[in-house]
Amino acid sequence: MKHTLAILVENKPGVLTRVAGLFSRRGFNIESLAVGVTENLDISRITIVVSGDDNILEQVEKQLNKLIDVIRVSDIPAQDSVNRELALIKVGVDSTTRAEVMQIVDIFRAKIVDVGIKSLVIEVTGDESKINAIEQLLRQFGIREMVRTGKIAMNRGAKVVQSEKR
């Protein structure tokens, strides 16, 4: 079972190493990871997708909370949350396939951000399944290169992940 954790940390050098190091040394597997600064400049937010049963998740959360630089750990439920990844996909095209690719881009509400004679760069945002789906469809045209960010997530409604621990 996959869980998405939002981890608020002090925005200091070495903090990502502490968090990532904890995962590797306790044998927890990171499926995806994204880091960025928050509305408060001395706090960064790390979004980690981790797979494991409830016991593993409980240990992950407790061990993370032991790190001095970790301010808060919050499990973002799959329901009631907005989950997004961004991907850039470079697809090989020629005059016969360009239109079909552009149609797919349209259907997925993705964007073409670069046009070349033999390729297009497509920017797509969405949850994991949407990105997987467009990737599948584009594969027949030849994906030259693809890069995906880690997942970021936010609760729907008024609920927020706050810096005050407990």
Partner: protein, 559 residues
Amino acid sequence: MTKPKMSGARAVIESLYCENVEVIFGYPGGTVLPLYDELYDANIRHILVRHEQAAAHAADGYARATGKAGVCLATSGPGATNLVTGIATAYMDSVPMIAITGQVPRSLIGYDAFQEANITGITLPITKHNYLVQDAKDIPNIFKEAFYIAQTGRQGPVLIDIPKDTQIDTIDFEYPAEVKLRGYKPTYTGNEQQIKKAASLIVKAEKPIFYVGGGIIFSNATEELRTLAETVMAPVTTTLMGMSAFPTAHPLSVGMLGMHGTRYANYAIQESDLIIAVGVRFDDRVTGKISAFAPNAKIIHMDIDPAEISKNVRVDIPIVGDAKNVLKSLIKYVKIEQAKTDAWIKKINEWKKEYPLTYKKDNLLRPQYVVEQISEICPDAIIVTEVGQNQMWAAQFFNYRNPRTFISSGGLGTMGYGFPASIGAKVGKPECTVIDISGDGSFQMNSQELATVVQNDIPVIVAILNNGFLGMVRQWQELFFNRRYSATCLKDSVDFVKLAEAYGALGLRATRKSEVKDVIEEAVRSERPTVIDFVVEREENVAPMVPAGAAINEILDLE
């Protein structure tokens, strides 16, 4: 008021004054020269060890004996990496320690400079927290935080890495009055509802047992433990880290549990209907085969570290908090008019009679006899141990009466720990007799510290149970590897009496039972650093023994 201007090195010393540090165990080198220059006329005792590992162990022994954070100091690179084993030892056993290391100047960090090692990276998994000083003006705040983190919550070592140039830079010194750490707020008071639930289980239990560890000692909860145990009339078993948390001779004591625990402690755990676990972590050496551990028992687990709860075993009632606080509130709620445990205590006493902790009492000099004699002659001594058979016999055959009188590397099992740790214990508690119960293998891992105890006049006694073997490994080879003693024989490798004398310490030897008492008394009387070479039976085994991976009541018949 203007803040005084001073160098970063001076600021370190001033910070240590603010934390009431009276002693540092250390070893100088290139990147700590400014610090050592300040130490030269500082009002802090510096004990020069002969290897940085010993500095870390000594700081650890000091902390365990006194309850205050121990401080060690080393230079960058090899000095810092030599501390690593000592820091890991303290981390595994939750010992408050501050390790200060020099670092190459900031402009050279990352360039593989001479004696550069990324010690904050290296110690990341073995420190509670660590710091690399990026700016000299951060020094007071970092020291304040470091001492706070090391000595609160679940205690542990904190490392501060100080680049040489930040020791020279000038700052305005002001020591902060308090720490602001939004990510660190340890829980001291247990949840009242949980405590009430625990009390109701305790009152109803017919076969309850206390299973207690280092947490009792670290939170100074021995009195509360005793009061509660006597109220409930339940047996108390301790882990290795919990030795001295409950008096060995108390009628409710069943001694140590686990791999080399008493038969009656292990039987009692397996038959109990309620385990009251305080300041323990259900280590594999304690539980044996985890799926077969205490099959009929409900478990109440109190610990200051929430991550320990339900880590290894399922727990019915978790209580996060400081052992002393939680036990105090528990005592309020546990009201027992007529103890229900008479039959249970009777059964345990029968086990005690049937399976006593013992050894062959003949005319040969056996190691257990040496420990018993030490216990008789020096009942109030602080016992420090090395690791292996000596450690188990020290746990089994000394009669502990007061907390903080058993000091041992429990979690990491560090050979070579005992002698330097005994130095720290003696420095922290000079009024106590401090005895390192040692083996000939472990002692040789840090015997160079004989120079330290002689130079600084620290009269510790090293009692070597010399069997000419790496005894515990040999025991496993005897039992599980067909007596093929691969690389475990140390016989006649060194004359320990002459070794002691070479350093200017007192060297004594006993080869017969009849000589044991005399040499111990002579060592105590001498008030000098002393090594006693007890030439004991070579193939004595530690018993009882539960093989690794077996349930803790599946005990090998070694007796």
